[in-house]
Amino acid sequence: MATLHTVNKSPFERNALDTCLRLAKQGSGILFLEDGVYGALKGTAASEKVAKAAGEHKVYVLGPDLAARGMQEDQILDGIQVVDYAGFVDLAAEHDRVNAWL
């Protein structure tokens, strides 16, 4: 299976998400965690490119990190799946390798 990419920085702070989206092969897994969860929100300057990415990759967001920032699941873009830490472990195990875009 493909690579799981993890993005832990807000797209409004660093360019990690842009780099990830530019280089990830089609069909990759992309997980937003920590401040990276801001990239999963509807109605932001990053929403359009993330929605497009969700059509080309499997995009996930870490639920506990959303909750820690006061965000609800209904604020998340369609096509993005919410996972918990156990789901994060499963994603890491299911993919062939994990690349952290720090």
Partner: protein, 130 residues
């Protein structure tokens, strides 16, 4: 499956150490092996026993220590990164003529070869950092 964990960020900085802890707990709960946790760069600051966070806050170092005790985890602190930042065990303190050591229970100081080794041995290397 075998996981290696790399922590490149100090405690209470952003969230890397918390994420690494939570991931390690979840992996162990699922029956995976966590072969080694390697603390590098500012991540070595997770290994000081002299930290005194407020009582209503989490004590990240203590959480690593107790998790290591419970699951016999190998918590390794990079020696070069540790020496630069004043993290010493008893042997290193003596070797450098320092008056105290500060490494927390369950952590040990070793070299970068330990990171290379776990990267080879583990099925996945999970990187947490800034």
């Amino acid at each position: 499956m075998k996981f290696g964990i790399l922590v490149n960020e100090g405690p209470y900085t952003h969230e890397a150490s918390d994420s690494a802890l939570q991931f390690t707990r979840a992996a162990l709960a699922k029956g995976h092996e966590v072969t080694r946790v390697f603390f590098y760069h500012d991540g070595v600051n997770n290994g000081t026993r002299l930290g005194v966070p407020p009582q209503d806050d989490r004590n990240i170092t203590r959480e690593w220590s107790s998790l290591a005790k419970e699951h016999e985890l190998d918590l390794v602190v990079c020696i070069a990164a540790a020496q630069r930042r004043g993290l010493l065990d008893a042997d290193e303190a003596k070797r450098h003529g320092k008056d105290a050591d500060n490494i927390a229970e369950g952590f040990r100081i070793s070299g970068l070869g330990q990171l290379i080794e776990v990267a080879i041995q583990a099925d996945r290397l999970m990187v947490f950092g800034d």
